[in-house]
Subunit: 523 residues, 2 copies
């Protein structure tokens, strides 16, 4: 049974006097369970426990942490039926989508377990000393990443499983050796509770200290503010809107001791379509674009929302096909009332923009699209670059593809950007590509940014406003790097070194030895 | 001849109406040359040129950038006589110290050239695709670091050569492919001008675009504010005081588009001395500590300013030796009047602290030291953790070494921390070491943090307030990582990939290939 409280260490709390309920978008009704807002005392308790657990967690071995992640994966897997049922209810996502995300979530825990165990992410480096060097001796220096301490994570609304209470942020923080306090998203509090319980069961079974993990609920801003400004918090992870992320960035920057906020705040992910591929495959491309836009009903941060096309009969065919798909596809519910309202407001805004024709818009939350020319796009770019979160696409018609590099100059940081072209088209993209090198976190050729592979070379980031920090990623195995800071050890006897830095390389991990990659022992 | 203007791209500007002069601390006189404050127009021009140069720089090869750094090293080396003469005049540092820093600076350019050429810092990663994977194909993903764009650097006062206009920050930013605008420190504007000219000569000789480098002068805050808030600036590097660094952090965080500030803001670098080494070598340890404290006359960010000792006759011998050294060492001038005033104010502050005995203090800028007990230290820790920049040491007498871990809990982020002990002592340091893992950027055993080796395992960082970002270092070869962000390429044909990511590995650089380190070609 759902209890509706906070999971603080090994206990449940229903201190908070304010309560809220979840909403079932598909059934258009409030759900019966009441969830308590975390109180200031709840926040403080969770972060006191996290602070107390931090030194123990920092010293746990890679193997212990990998084992913890695997135990949690098993727990989550065996709880999938109940988690997925509640998740489908609270999000309105189709069961197949929920099931796929559930499998992905369990897989993520196992992938990160393997990565944690492998140890490459520690970036262990050894520069051996030269005591006889003239004029000054060269010290022995060794460095590796060590956990930064308690991390606060804000769960996302749009990926209730793979980017939320049990998603990439908490997995990577636990894997790096940091205690985690998650604030579940108020769109799916019941899902958050089931996920949190499965994680806590794993932590207790693995014998990790109380405070390794807590999960708090909250609908308003108070819980988040208290979490980010609490003195014990060492870093923050967030996935959500630009407005929400920026608010957390400002809170963290205003602290007596500013802390890093790793916020992934979405983007419009521009698509550049060249003429030859448009001539060859206008209809196919339009179908694939529509499938990408409507994944998760347009509520993916990698949704390809702005498409640049050279004006031509082929472009007309492309738009006609897209139009047909839009018309024939029934509305799917958006995740919550706030998102639905914002979606309609975004389309209302479009209707007021000079030169922008909204070619299709349904009465409620149906897919919609607008068309305008490059000149009007550049004139109105500030308002057009604001994401309309949902299944809305904007098509920008250019005189020809030579305008693409200039149009690309309009973009600030983006998570993704794509170039669509035949081999012939791709011979002339270098000026555009140089612009993408400036602003895109990920560049996709002949594909869409939706669908994120968890691997070493995945970078789900980009300059502001796509994220708060251009050097880091919230998805992919490199997500671990945010939660552990390099520490150098100078002239330190082996007995005082972490195992990862000892001469014998007892963990057998890859290390940089005097500037060369090595998996063997120090000389 | 010194011209006293800004070096903006290939031109010199004396627009600014306000001027200032340099001060010669040893001679206690103002120097005759007048330096113009950069105007708002100067700042804008420098950053417009940097913005224009950025795409070209981003696409330069590793070899071209390494060659540039080597050319600049040669130029700086051949200008060393004139640079060092002016530097000694403007800083009052002894000629031997200036000469050593000059050699170090030239060496840094060559070290970074080699590192840039080696390419490991690009963190090239390749995860090859599996088009037939079920249920979804696995895309081919490749990632590497690419330059972020124009970088603003603030030169440090205390290392006029190795941490300033031609120091680690601008070297690493240029090496990463970013245009650089440096603000020289007003303590040594003539030195900055000579350094800037040598760099610009190298840039022109290497055929790099105008705007690759500019150097601006300024005594007040206006130039710095304009640089950090300029829309073209993509990141900031700073070495200096907590107050100065925090002001830049706040400016950057308040921008419409916040940008990263990498500020190294100094620390007090606590030293923990165990009883057995004190019994064996009280006098030797005191001598070595004094030598470390008075390096650069206490104006090193790694100066060991707070020393914890167990109360004993050995501690008395230690303090007596330190006292003798302090008394017999004549005052050396501090770098500028501001630092000298702040030093005296810091010692005045010490005199008001309950329980703190200032055991020696000279009439001007002589080395000084104070003593207090652990109880009073903990009571007054907030004021005592404020750095007294200069040759001042604080000795904290404890009942015994078991108090060390609790005392260590008082510390926020520090650049360095040391443990001094015999083998016997080191058997009981694990609780203390766990605390150092939390707050220290570098842990030194039986040595002092002064003296920073430029190698892969050097981390000159630490949590706030030591720096603004615990994950990055301003010194050591990892300094490159701040100026280049990961970019992923998905399903990208070889012809559109940067060389570093092409199958054939034409650069022969180390890469992570499907999770394994490799210097060979992709399969």
């Amino acid at each position: 049974m759902i209890q509706g409280g906070q999971l603080i260490g090994n206990k449940t709390s229903q201190h908070g006097e304010d309560t809220f309920v979840a909403y079932a978008p598909r059934e258009e009704r409030d759900l019966p369970e009441r969830f308590h807002e975390a109180s200031g005392k709840d926040v403080d308790q969770a972060l006191q426990l996290a602070h107390q657990a931090a030194p123990t967690l920092r010293q746990t071995s890679l193997e212990e942490r990998a084992h913890l992640l695997e135990l949690i994966a098993d727990n989550l897997e065996s709880s999938l039926p109940i988690i997925e049922e509640r998740c489908a209810l609270e999000t309105g996502y189709p069961d197949t989508r929920v099931a796929m995300e559930g499998r992905r979530m369990v897989h993520l825990w196992r992938l990160f377990a393997e990565e944690v165990r492998g140890g490459a992410w520690l970036e262990a480096r050894i520069d051996t000393g030269e005591p006889d060097r003239f004029p000054l001796p060269k010290p022995d220096l060794r460095s590796m990443r060590m956990a930064i301490g308690p991390v606060v994570i804000f769960g996302a609304s749009n990926f209730p499983l793979a980017l939320s209470v049990a998603g990439s942020d908490p997995i990577s923080a636990l894997g790096a050796g940091c205690p985690v306090v998650v604030k579940g998203h108020p769109s799916h509090p019941g899902t958050s509770e089931w996920l949190g319980r499965a994680i806590l069961d794993g932590i207790q079974a693995a014998g990790f200290p109380e405070g390794t993990f807590s999960m708090l609920q909250g609908k308003g801003h108070d819980v988040g503010t208290a979490l980010v400004t609490h003195p014990n918090t060492r870093a923050v992870g967030f996935t959500g809107s630009l407005r929400g992320g920026r608010a957390l960035m400002d809170l963290a920057a205003g602290r007596l001791d500013p802390i890093p906020v790793y916020a992934e705040m979405g983007s419009v992910n521009p698509q550049f379509v060249y003429p030859d591929i448009l001539a060859n495959d206008a209809e196919g491309l339009a179908e694939r674009l529509f499938a990408s836009v409507t994944m998760g009903n347009g509520q993916f941060c990698t949704c390809p929302s702005i498409v640049f096309l050279p004006r031509s009969k082929d472009a007309d065919r492309f738009l006609d096909t897209y139009h047909e798909r839009v018309i024939e596809t029934p509305a799917a519910p958006l995740l919550n009332t706030c998102i639905a309202i914002a979606y309609r407001q975004g389309l209302d805004r479009w209707e007021t923009i000079p030169g922008l024709t909204v070619r299709h818009r349904g009465p409620t939350e149906e897919a919609a699209f607008g068309v305008l020319d490059a000149h009007h796009f550049l004139d109105q770019r500030e308002v057009l670059l604001e994401e309309v979160f949902g299944p809305a696409s904007l098509f920008v018609l250019c005189e020809d593809q030579d305008e693409f590099p200039t149009l690309a100059e309009a973009f600030p940081g983006q998570l993704g950007a794509s170039i669509h072209g035949t081999d012939k088209d791709l011979q002339e993209v270098s000026a555009l590509l140089n612009e993408l090198h400036r602003f895109a976190g990920r560049i996709v050729i002949n594909g869409f940014p939706t669908g994120i592979e968890t691997c070493h070379a995945m970078h789900h980031g980009g300059p502001y406003p796509a994220t708060s920090d251009p050097l880091h990623t919230s998805l992919g195995l490199a997500a671990l790097a945010r939660w552990a800071r390099p520490v150098s050890f100078q002239n330190t006897p082996t007995t005082l070194l972490p195992e990862a830095l000892q001469d014998e390389n007892p963990l057998g991990i890859p290390r940089l030895l005097n500037g060369r990659h090595s998996a063997s022992t120090a000389p």
